[in-house]
Structure formats: structure tokens, C-alpha cells
Symmetry: D2
Subunit: 358 residues, 4 copies
């Protein structure tokens, strides 16, 4: 009923993909990535607000990439569940994604959810941070949380529904999880201090005064302190890595750029050397092209990862304070959202991890 | 021999002012502030690189403010010392300012130095952080460090030479010093974590690839970790306030904006309440219009202080971590440099603190 | 009933001023200019949407400038007409301003209208471009259109209601009107080609997707071709200057900056010399500090006029084409709106034209 | 001797490519495009300034794309001529490229020159605009100028050296050439008025004060009026299309964005209809994916073509003036430079025109 947009050019059997919530900034990235993907066909792009409109009109950057007749379809969960689609990507607000996940998994489709609906381990924590009963608690418990460089493949390769990590949490877990797993760090509550700076696209395509060009240009500001919603996800994952409770200070900010997250982490590091830090990183990320390990003193720059699916990380130990200081940078819409979801699909489908992402 | 640019319109006796190093970004702000000042005459603007050039050509934003014949004069210390000037502002690189301070104070002029040359308490610390012997160690010891909201007036009102604070240090001392003086905070070494984000003008008007528009646009990055030069000044001042050694983690960054500094501070705050924090701030800054105290949860924004001489500060205590989280924002070229120097001159000359700065 | 914000410091009798529509970008500039003005008191800031809110909360850049208790008042025309205010500034959308102009002038107040309601010479032209019957046709005919460098003072010094020029039209008339009045230029219809580039603040503080940071950053685009509303005002004024019909091609664009208009004009100039152009400009603007005349080859830059009330203009004649090419730059919110209105008030009140504007 | 960076994945025989001048903004785009290209291997990246440095260090955005050991090689023409490379791309300043073109073509390599050295039809015109004797006049005459949508393939398919168009000229020829060839437009000298706005990358990666972030942010300004160097190329090509001399007014500007060119063209269009314009465009560009034809009233936006190899064009006829107004937008580094050169290589090598460019 809809036109698909790409004709894969290789001998690998292409997968059929669909997006729900295709009209936001993350949805736009997914359209681009899947339309260009060498082994995937973007079969459907569903939107609650733009159904019937040609996708290339909403995303004029992709005019030469998309067939003019490829239009957003309606976002009815039951109807979408009947479509011939192998992988569904949900780029929807929290609280909205769950209904689609239920319908699509019930129909036997595989679902990659980019919302927060299935990231947490319990409905109780969800309620505490997101303020309502979880819409699908049973599904929540069965959905693995997959940061592909950190979650062992066997644990999620057959999962019908996968929770994709949030943007801030990805930039934080990549440098910290290997160190916590190795028990190099054992921070007391609040001693792990995380400052993150996000580009404005992180706020989504919303018609609000505070995201106008004239309000955000030339402006850096903190927000969401002390209890940003991503905190629940960050602490749950870091605690699992440490096999002990980890309580962090998370200070998010907005910076005047379209995309990118720069994260700076300070943590006491008694008795460890910078060589140990780099050794854990090298071991954890050997052969993974989407983690860039920079030498001490060479700091990640959001401008260097913009448009890529890579996280750059670096660290040094301050001999004066005994702290480990980690800096990380990432594109919030790619490795922090759409790119990482496609990376997961690549692995599920047996493609190379980097296909369509270089 | 040079034309002055403003004719004060009031009955207060105007002071005659001069700038050395007038062609950089801080020099430009000083030209603007002094040319507009209701009780000051900008008598001389000296420049090592632009002597002989009309100032309005270098700073076209001020074409209607400056007399077309007002030109940069040469920056010879001995010649400048013979000029009829009451207050000299040195907007020069560290290591260069000292020679001017020596010549001008020897001639009985009052000098406000915006460089780092006289900010530290000892020549030894200067050598450790700035890498050379101090050019005027005797003068260093006699020059008071003046953040006007924090240094008692009687201690510096007659000083011939005043060291004006650095940009990052101002944004850090304003929120922290009252709390340290009251002994509300007693952080162990490295537990006071400071992340600062500066606009690009902080790097000065230098023809370097890394400060080109195309390199800095859409880019946030850390630099100077773990040992930025301002660290020496920060720790010396915080230690003095605490009457005990304070060792901090200072993480500076560049953000894609012209001007502004956003500072976020995390520090353990066992046993204290947010009310105590605000009470100390209210007491310290009662009647001071250049410190804006925002309620918890309302975060300072560099866009809200750009073009002003104000620092905005806010704080909250995170009940989960026990940390105090402070956010601050400031214009690096005004309260962080030229504006603060003019504020000091206002107080020295007996003007209202805010004259020419609202 | 409301608190005023400034205490003029001179012996000139201060005037009492008020703003209707104080919460938009132009309103914000007017608040700043009037609160700082040496001879004016900002008595009232009326807003249709923010009545009751402290003005310094809406405009945090002015926290140290405004009394905390100075709040937006309601925007009821009849109630405002009873207030003790000498000069009212209307910073309202077209179609809305007229009702205030009627009520306030009926009460004997002087009104400076920054909307388009009284800029055109006839209700018929208004209807053609603005799509409705003019709300106050009688008042329209009596309201002079005042670009203060071009309209002779005697013709408007006693007018109860003054129409302030639009932003684009100001940047166009300043260079062209002296040349048309001198009959140096006699362009055939459409041969006078005007391209203008405006900062995003020109679109107002509106919560629309198309003015979000992520939509406008890195974007230059044309809009409103071939029939932008300002065209009516431009042609009416240029025709009056030429004493003959002038039909222009006007191509407006948006550029990724907060403020500023850059205008480039191309027009055939048979038989005239560049010296004649500059001679007319020098004659028209002798002694006027808000027009900067740059030599041929030195082009105006919006960055050089941002934050000022100045228009910079320059011109050259291309010997290959015989065309005169004029470039102009201006701050759309100052000389293009609020600054120009304050300049007009200065002249009406007998102040120096530049008071509060340098 | 050097490592190549990509392993094409298809059955098409890959071509071996090299870049001279690989360290500038255009060179960087070529590295990215060729490293990603499905049918090309980037064998060599020569740089006069960075020889020996790993390419991924200079271009950190490509860290996961490039082999770490792939380094810039020296830029000696004779040595490069001995390398096994099918297509050389010269991304060099004018005056420098010619020596490479001579050496490489003499060795039988095919050369795509992105400099201005071979764009003009005569050494005399080159000398007039570029101020020196042409370094290789014989080669100049034999090198075809290839805008691939406009130059017939048979005329250049065997050329050893191809002159790639300049950025401004591409955005101008795409909309105008079909109309001039059809004799729809016959503008008198100077009546064709072209205003172009370029992102800052157009100035190259040069350490000059005027291209610093703080100088260009918030700034739109004209430059190079009335005689920008690209004028020679523009007029030569338009005259050839019209089969008659075309003398234009070309007004270039800088806008505060990294990349993109927005061009607005005004030209008298007596007796023609907008339908005729679109008919010529549709005929000229049928099947060409890198020209986007937008309906009248829907204006191209640099943000919509950024990162693409597409030019968007639109037009309307103003009934009041009789003028045709054309708007166009393009990425200066892609369709205006590196993307177009790769498009030409694709056609020469028998690949699909869009390979590696979607």
C-alpha cells in the first residue's frame, strides 16, 4: 500500500523496516539511515501528525533520496501490525510507545523502542520518574536494555522487543561501565559527578518559545537539576555494572548547537592508574569501531562526532585531587538515538555492525 | 596629543582614563564602557599593534560613539606614564602587563590590571603555573586582588595597583566564597567539582585555525584538564575564604557562543540546608546589584546575563546525594573582565558602583 | 498604581513613557531603552499576555536594571488612556495597534506606533496588502510617517500620532531617498532590485516550528517573494521621494542570526558618478550620527551595527554594468524598530537625538 | 607505500583515486566521499602542509571510517604522477593546481581540477581576473568545463583534464543556463542581478582574524563587489549559453553558517510565462536527481540541501515588475565543490551518477 524507498544493491537478503513516530528529529535520522542502508528497505514511515504527507516534503534534505510518492502512513497500531515488516523502530514519546510495542510484538514483529518505556527494570521505578503507571508492565520485564557494545549478544539476540538506551545514558555508560565492571571505581553516593551538555535537538521538534532560535542562540544553561528523568536509567545501569548501588550527581545542560552531547565525569579514583583505565577500555572495545578512545589530554569534541555513530572518550587522573576526569562526546541523534538503533538491527539481522552507519 | 571621546554631562568631576592593550576583545569592551561612562573621559587607548589607527575603524560598532579622530596611541610605558591619566586599565597578556604596571605606578598613576600578572599571592606560584620568573615580585606582593563584592573596600581603596580577577574565577568565587567563609562547606581535596563553559571570546582575538567559525560552530569540548592556569587563582582565593586549603577539580570547556560563562559546581554539603546557603548569599550580596540570586530550580542562563555586568547564581541540594549543586552564569567580557574593572574604578573614584554599567 | 523604573539624573524634566505590547522582541528593546534613558521614566509596560508578571522575570537580562516590583499591566485601551503618560509606544501587531491609537490620542496622549497600521497613505492600499478594512481610516490620514533623518521636523513635531517605519523600509530609504529626491535615479519599473537578509528576531517571539533553533540554524532562505507586506510601504515612500511612481523588486530572506538586516540594492545609474551619490548622502546626513557613510568598497556588516541605532551605507558604481550597487546594514530591533521610535521621542521632547541611544 | 582506506563491496571494478590538497575544507569532503564510495578506493591523500600526519587525526569526524595508518603523503607532482591512481582530484588554490595538472596528465592520469586554473576559456581572461600569467595556457584550452547536468557527456568523456565549476557559478548556472539556451531571457547588460550568500567554509581553512568565530557569528556582509573573481567564470558560461554576451551584476555576501550558498536572481522576463520557465527546467533536468525543482512560492533553503549534492531551484514572475525572480540553494562544499567532482568521476567511470552521493 505504500512505496518503499530503497533498493538494496547487494546479495544479502534485505530486511523490511518501518518507523513509528517518523516526523520528529529522531524519526528523521531513522528515515535517512534506513533509506540509505545497503541491506534494508524502509517500507513504512508512520506518523501521528503527518499521515498522508510525502516524507520528502517534511524532510527536504532527503528529496533526492526518497521516492516522491513515499508518504507517511497513519499510526494505527493494529493496522501496522498487519504490515509485512521485519523490524519496527519506535521513535515516540514515553507513554506512547508501549501500545505500539504490545501490538507489534503480539503480531510477531521485532521492535526496537527508542522511547523510555522499556528502559527501566521495574514498573515502580518507571512510576517514580515518569509519573504514571507503566502501560505494559509484563512486557517491561522481558525487554532487554541493549547498549550493543556492553550487552552480551546472546542475551538479546532473540528478544522480540529491545529497549534502546537514552542519549545522555549512552555517553555516560560507554566510559564508565567497563571501569565499574572491573571494580576500578567504587564511588560513594554522590561522588560520581556527571555534567552533560546537549544540543537543542535533544528537546525534540516542539513549538515552544524556549526552543526558538532567538532564545537559545548564545545561551548555555542548566536544567533538570537535581532529578532529570534519565537519572533513573543511568543509575540502574551503572549499579548493575558495579554490582552495587551507584548514586550519581547528574547535571544536564543545553548548549547552542543543533546536535551533540558533551559529557564530563569526575570521580575519585584512589589507588588506580590511568593505564588501568585505558586497559579496561581497550579490552571492552577492542574491534568496536563506534567507540573512539583518545589519549589523555586529547579531549573529545562534539564537532568531531557530529554526523557519526561514534562516541569518543578520553581520561586523565589529576594527581592533585586523585580524581579521574573523563570526557566524552557523541551525536545525540545518532549514537544517542537512531544510529544506535540501526546498529542493534544490524547485529540482530546478521549484518556487519557498521552497515549503513559509516 | 590625543582626542578624548566623551564629555561627561554631570556635575561630578570626571576622571581621566586610559587603556593599554585596547585592541583585543577585552580592550574593546573597556573602550565602549569608558566612552559611554557618565563620569569618565577615555583619554588614551594604547595598542601595541594598531598605534595610529582610528579606534572607530577597529571597532565599527562604536562609530557613532567615538570621535573619528580618536586614534590608538603607541604603547610605550614611559611615554604613557607622562600622560595626564587618573586610572589606567591594562588589558594585556600575562607577562606583558607587569612592565606597564611598574612604570605607571612609579609615576603615581593608579592601575587596574586585568592580566594574571598580579593575581597570585607569590612569585613561586606564578612561576609554577605561568612558567617563568615573575617580572615584578615586589609589586606582586603589594597588589590587592579585588573582586569588589568580596574584598572589603578599606583594604584596597588606596592601593596604587589592583589585580582584577579572571573570568572563570569570578563565576566561581561569587557563589562559593560566602559559603566557605561561613564554613558551611569543608570539602575534602577534589570533592569540589567545577565545570565551566566559556564562549569563544575567552580565547582572545587570535588568528588561529582552532578559533575559526567553521571549527567552533556546533562544537562543545573540554580543554586544559587537569591544570588550567586559572586553577592557581581559584584555589588561592577559595583557600583564603575557607581559611584552610581547598583543592578543587576544575574542568573548563569551550561552547559555541561569542560570550558568556556557565559554571556548575557540585560539592558535598553534609548537614546543611538550602536555606543556609541562600541566607549566606543574601547577607553577602545585600544591596549589590551585580549579583542575581535566583531561587532553587531556576537556573542561570548565559543568554540572560550577556551584555550585563551581573553574575546570576542559584543552588539546590540533592536529597539523594547530599550534594549542593550551584549554577552560575556571567558575561566573560563584562563581569568577567572589563565591566568588573570599571566597577572597581567606580568605587575607587567615589562614583556609584553601577555608573556606566547598567 | 505601578512602579516606574528609572530615576533620571539630570536637570531636564523627565518625560513619562509607556509601552503597549511590551513582551515581544521589540517591546523588550523599548523597555531596555526607556529604563536606561537619562530623561525618561518608564511608567507602564502593558502586555496582553503577561499582565501581572514582573517585567524582570520576562526579561532576565534586565534584572539589575528594573525594580523587581515593576510588573506588566493589563492592556485595556481605556484604562491606559487615563494614565499619566506623555509618550506611548505601541509595539503591537498590525490590526491591533489602531484601537490603542484611537483611545490614547483621544485622551490627548502622544502616540508612537511601531506597527504597520498607520504607515500607508490610504486605507485602500492597507486593504490590498493587509487584507482587511483599515480600523481607523481617519486617523490614518492624519498620522505622519516619520523616518527622522528624512522627514522635516516641522511637519510632524505637533502630530498626536506618528507612524514609525518598518525595519526593511528603513534600511532601504536611508540610502535611496536622498538619491531619488535629487533625481539622480529614475529607475524603470522593476529595475530597482532590493535583496534584504533579516535576523530571526524579525519574525517575532512566536512559538512556531519554523522559528525553532534547529530549523533556522545553518539556514538562509528567501520568503515572501514577490509580495512582502513591507513592499507597499517601500514603494509609497520611494515614490514620494522621486515625485514619480517607483516600482521595485523586493526580495526578503531569513539569515541565521538573532538580529540585523543587510540590504543590497542594485539600480541602473546612467550618467551619474559615485561622487554625486556620496555628495547627496553627505548633504542629507550631515550632523546625523545614526547614519554611517562608508567609502566605496568598505561594506556594511550587521555585526558592526548590532546593538546600535545606526544604519551603515556604502555604494559603488560598477563600470561594467553601469549599475549603482548600494549595501546597507542595521539592527532590525533598534534603528529598525525600538531605537528609531526613541529617537523620534527624543526629537519631539526637545532632547538630543542621541540621548539614551549611544 | 600508503594504505588505502576503503574496500568496495560490489562486483564493479573499483577505481583508484587520489587527492592533492586534501587538508582544506574541500579536501576533507573529498576524503569523506571517496572513502565511503562503493566503487572507489582512496589510494592517496596528498597535502603540502600535513604530509606524514594520519588523515584521521586531521579529520576526527572520520576516525571510524579511515584506517589509523592512512597518512597524508607529500605533494610532489612528479612522485604523485608515478602512483597507480586512475583519478586525481586537485583541491588546491588557483595558481597552484596547474603544475599538478601538467605532471599528472603527462603521466596519463585523469585529473579533475577543483581550482579556478582551468575554468576560463582564455589565458587573457585568467590574467585579467587572477592577476598573473596563466601557468599552463595550452592545457587551459583543451580542458573542458564540466557542470555535468549542462555539459553534453560526449564532449568531455575522454578529456584527460576537467575543470570543475566554482561554487557560486554552479548555483547560478543551474537555473539560468536552460533559460538562456532557450532564449527565454535576453537581459541587457547589468539587468541580470545575482545576489549570493555563502557560508564561511567558502573562505577556506585560513588562520585569519576575519574568519574567527567571534567575527563572523551574527554577521551578514557583502564583499567583493563589484568584481569578484567568479564573475569571469559566470559571465563566460552564461554568454556561451545565450550565444551572446551576458553581463551580470554579481553581489556575493558572507552569512553566519558553516556551509551553504543561497542565490537569488532577478531578471526582466518580458513576454514569458512561469510555465515556460518550468518547462525548460523540466526538460533540462529530467532524470537528474541532483537538481530539485520546487514550485513557485516554495523557496530553496540552504538547510534543506546541506550535506547533499543537490541544488534546489524555484522561480516566480512578479506581475508588478515583469521580472523573473529565481531562488537557489546548494551546499558549497558538495554540489559546489567535492560532490560535483565525484559526480563527474562517476560519469567518467561508468558508475551511476549518484553512487556515493546519496
Amino acid at each position: 500500500m505504500h512505496n518503499s524507498v530503497s533498493t538494496p544493491q547487494s546479495s544479502v537478503r534485505p530486511v523490511r523496516t518501518g518507523i513509528v513516530g517518523a516526523s520528529g528529529y529522531t524519526g528523521e535520522e531513522l528515515v535517512r539511515l534506513l533509506a540509505r542502508h545497503p541491506h534494508a528497505t524502509l517500507a513504512l514511515a508512520a506518523s501521528r501528525s503527518l499521515a498522508g504527507k510525502p516524507v520528502a516534503e517534511a524532510f527536504p534534505q532527503m528529496r533526492e533520496l526518497l521516492a516522491p510518492e513515499f508518504t507517511f502512513c497513519a499510526a494505527d497500531p493494529e493496522a501496522l501490525a498487519r504490515e509485512d515488516v521485519d523490524y519496527w523502530f519506535l521513535a515516540l514519546p514515553h507513554g506512547v510507545a508501549a501500545a505500539y510495542a504490545l501490538a507489534l510484538t503480539a503480531a510477531g514483529r521485532r521492535v526496537l523502542d527508542l522511547s523510555a518505556d522499556f528502559r527501566l527494570g521495574s514498573a515502580a521505578l518507571y512510576k517514580e520518574y515518569y509519573g504514571g503507571d507503566h502501560p505494559a508492565p509484563a512486557l517491561l520485564e522481558s525487554a532487554p536494555y541493549v547498549l550493543p557494545e556492553l550487552a552480551p549478544f546472546h542475551a538479546w539476540k532473540d528478544a522480540p522487543l529491545i529497549a534502546c538506551p537514552g542519549c545522555y545514558p549512552t555517553s555516560i555508560q560507554i566510559p564508565l561501565v567497563p571501569l565499574l565492571r572491573a571494580h576500578l571505581l567504587r564511588p560513594s553516593p554522590g561522588a560520581l559527578v556527571i555534567n552533560s551538555y546537549s544540543g537543542i535537538s535533544g528537546a525534540g521538534r516542539k513549538a515552544e518559545i524556549s526552543y526558538l532560535y532567538c532564545e537559545r542562540d548564545e545561551s548555555v544553561k542548566a536544567y533538570g537539576i537535581p532529578r532529570h528523568r534519565h537519572l533513573s536509567e543511568i543509575e540502574e545501569q551503572l549499579s548493575a555494572a558495579a554490582a552495587a548501588p551507584v548514586v550519581v550527581q547528574f547535571n544536564p545542560h543545553l548548549a547552542p548547537m543543533k546536535r551533540g552531547i558533551a559529557t564530563t565525569i569526575t570521580v575519585p579514583a584512589p589507588g588506580i592508574s590511568i593505564a588501568q583505565v585505558y586497559a579496561e577500555w581497550e579490552a571492552a572495545y577492542a574491534g568496536r569501531r563506534f567507540v573512539g578512545i583518545l589519549p589523555p589530554g586529547q579531549h573529545p569534541d562534539t564537532g568531531h562526532v557530529s554526523g557519526t555513530n561514534r562516541v569518543d572518550i578520553s581520561a586523565s587522573i589529576d594527581p592533585r585531587t586523585g580524581n579521574l576526569v573523563i570526557t566524552a562526546a557523541m551525536d545525540n541523534l545518532l549514537k544517542g538515538a537512531g544510529g544506535q538503533a540501526v546498529q542493534i538491527m544490524n547485529l540482530l539481522a546478521g549484518f556487519d555492525e557498521t552497515d549503513g552507519l559509516l
